[in-house]
């Protein structure tokens, strides 16, 4: 029995690491676009806005099937994003304020629905802290499969529209002027983000999902100036953070997986900011001193 316990533990660890790695790959790659477009916090808004969708899906179907709840979350997150886009387009309210108001009020509405569900006495529904922090440890093989398939589709769509999305990110005005349907592309990119976020809700939760989009991308940005390499590196960093976070949290009891993954991703960012060649702080300091020395040599020679 002892051996079986260890085996089970090991098996769970592999499943959760695989799930976290896949999740990190998808969110790292797609997060690169959000970071480059200065929409890093869109992920935070979408993940909070998903709460009422989960509650409504549960109220309508009475089912706790993950796929149905995920669908509800995706629809609510998507509607929240469309609302954000149209408020920004139609008013003078700045992007960050719109994000803040949509994120908090959608979440508040979700909370209202949640108390409604609680009142109906359905005791075995998942708690709100699962939504907020996720429960990576409860990930099943089927969940990993779902993440793999849906995340894979999202990445393939990203690759198909590679050229269009690249233009959207770097020169929206030019893209519009040569006839690309900017608004449709914007919605496409955001929809891909929604997919990545909704997939991550169960594992790392709403609050920390935004970090999974931002951190790997920011780290990758330090190492390269090319989009292709940045997306690839971000995917790798995301996977690295997922696996290492899972392993670290499994070494001791009562270390939640989601936050550990986020801290690992943050550590990768810290390392990249300090040590990345060309852009990093160390490199910058060395270059600074070399310039100063050269300047001194030249002035003394004259």
């Amino acid at each position: 029995m002892e051996d079986l316990g260890i085996f089970n533990h090991f098996y769970t660890l592999i499943i959760v690491s695989a799930g976290a790695a896949l999740l990190g790959t998808v969110s790292g790659a797609l997060g690169s676009y959000a970071v480059l477009r200065r929409q890093s916090l869109l992920g935070d808004a979408i993940s909070h806005a998903a709460l009422p969708g989960i509650a409504i899906a549960f109220l309508l179907t009475g089912s706790k099937t993950p796929l149905i709840l995920v669908l509800g979350a995706a629809i609510a997150g998507w509607l929240g994003t469309l609302l954000i886009m149209s408020i920004v387009r139609l008013t003078r309210i700045k992007y960050d304020s719109v994000l803040a108001i949509v994120l908090s009020t959608f979440f508040g509405f979700g909370l209202v629905l949640h108390t409604l569900i609680q009142r109906t006495g359905n005791a075995n529904q998942a708690g709100l802290d699962t939504f907020l922090f996720g429960q990576a440890a409860t990930m099943l093989e089927s969940d990993v499969l779902t993440i793999g398939i849906l995340g894979g589709i999202a990445l393939i769509v990203m690759l198909i529209f590679w050229k269009e999305l690249k233009l959207l990110v770097f020169d929206e005005g030019f893209a519009a002027s040569i006839g690309f349907p900017i608004r449709t592309l914007d919605i496409l990119l955001t929809s891909l983000l929604v997919v990545a976020i909704v997939l991550g809700l169960q594992a790392v939760g709403a609050v920390l999902m935004s970090a999974m989009l931002v951190a790997p991308a920011v780290a990758a940005r330090q190492w390269t100036d090319r989009l292709r390499l940045m997306v690839f590196l971000a995917a790798c960093f995301g996977a690295l953070a997922g696996v290492s976070g899972t392993i670290i949290s499994s070494t001791a009891s009562r270390i939640p997986t989601g936050p550990t993954i986020v801290l690992c991703a943050t550590a990768v960012v810290g390392f990249s900011i300090v040590f990345a060649p060309n852009r990093g702080l160390v490199w910058d300091r060395i270059r600074h001193q070399r310039n100063r020395r050269n300047l001194k040599m030249e002035t003394s020679r004259n």
């Binding site: 509405f109 949640h114 270390i255 990093g280």
Partner: protein, 370 residues
């Protein structure tokens, strides 16, 4: 109404106003999401202070949490100053990391202390009146959180009144403020300290995520209604109070979370204002677009008539039945435009023809000169 109901509404109003006032400056300075970052990042501060004091309402806890909030701002700015990370990404990196530390601390030591995660994150206004202030031999001087939020409100009011001119200048022209010798950094950190203290004070009542609705909601709504800072501050306070009271009653009627209802009312009232406000509202925008369409068509019509006026072909060109062919318009649309122009007395009907009135001629001349 029972006393506790009145007390809850009072707490809600005071909290809403206290949050909305500094929120105005955050919204105008494009730093609204800093409130989101602070409200999440204070978690480790709350947890550590809670381990030390074992109470959720001790002043030390508020200080420690507010300190963590200011620390968040410092981290974000340090990251930005490396010029390697943009402002939004710096926020998106900092608060999840601090929040994660808080969550890990809670789960590591959850067995030893009683700290309800839901209470910290979501708050529960309904329980706020239960915690009474006891002093001077009286055991019921009103709810503690009313005193705490009241003091924070006064603090915010005093800060804004005393530094109104400085805040205004830093908000609208930071470089001019620096050039004139006002210290934008000092004002900035003063404001951020206020936001931190307010957030910490409010998390007890409404929880850390919905604080954002209180801070961002009323100022964003007021921003649609006015161009004056002073008016925006007053409107925000008013809207905040309306959100709070209406949210309370919705929660009471449907027996749901008060904080959640206040947030929901914030969205609904924002939506309502966005719909009907003059000039910037959706209805006003739609009407303006519609009017512009007809105005433009009418101008085209009078220019067409003006161009052929008094020339041999005028009769053919101005025949009402043939207008749509000359202007390449849809016949139905042409009829509507003719009716619109007739109503505005730009043209008049002469048998089967349309002729310009003096008013219509002036419009055509003016447009062509331009």
């Amino acid at each position: 109404m029972e006393t506790s109901q009145i007390e809850i509404q009072l707490i809600a109003i005071v909290t809403a106003v206290a949050c909305a006032l500094p929120g105005v400056f955050l919204v105008l300075r494009r730093m609204t999401l800093m409130s989101d970052a602070i409200s999440h990042a204070i978690l480790p501060g709350i947890v550590i202070a809670f381990f030390l004091t074992e109470s959720l309402s001790s002043p030390l806890l508020i200080l420690a949490a507010a300190g963590t909030g200011v620390l968040t701002v410092v981290f974000v700015e340090l990251l930005q100053r490396t010029k390697l990370v943009k402002a939004d990404a710096a926020i998106g990196l900092t608060f999840p990391a601090l929040f994660s530390i808080g969550v890990i601390l809670i789960s590591r030591f959850a067995g030893n202390v009683h700290l309800d995660m839901d209470a910290v994150l979501l708050g529960e206004l309904a329980y706020a009146p239960l915690n009474k202030l006891q002093a001077f031999g009286y055991d019921d001087l009103g709810p503690v959180s009313l005193y705490v939020m009241g003091m924070i409100l006064v603090l915010n009011l005093v800060f804004i009144l005393v530094f109104y001119k400085e805040l205004k200048l830093v908000t609208f022209d930071a470089s001019l403020a620096a050039a004139l010798g006002f210290a934008p950094t000092v004002i900035h950190y003063g404001l951020m300290t206020l936001v931190s203290v307010t957030t910490v004070g409010a998390f007890d009542a409404v929880g850390s995520i919905l604080v954002v609705a209180l801070i961002a909601g009323p100022p964003v709504t007021a921003y649609l209604m006015t161009d004056r800072l002073s008016r925006m501050l007053m409107l925000s306070a008013l809207i905040g109070s309306v959100n709070a009271v209406s949210g309370y009653w919705v929660a009471f009627l449907f027996d749901v979370s008060i904080a959640g209802s206040i947030a929901t009312m914030t969205l609904l009232i924002f939506g309502f204002v966005f719909l009907v406000v003059p000039n910037r509202g959706l209805i006003a925008i739609a009407r303006r677009h519609a009017r512009q369409k007809w105005e433009f068509a009418q101008t085209m019509l009078v220019i067409h008539l003006f161009n052929h006026e008094g020339l041999p072909e005028a009769e053919a060109e101005s025949a009402i039945d043939g207008l749509h062919e000359h202007l390449s318009w849809d016949p139905g649309f042409t009829n509507q435009v003719v009716r619109y122009a007739l109503n505005n007395r730009c043209v008049s009907r002469k048998e089967t023809q349309l002729i310009l009135t003096a008013h219509g001629r002036t419009i055509a001349q003016k447009t062509l000169v331009q």
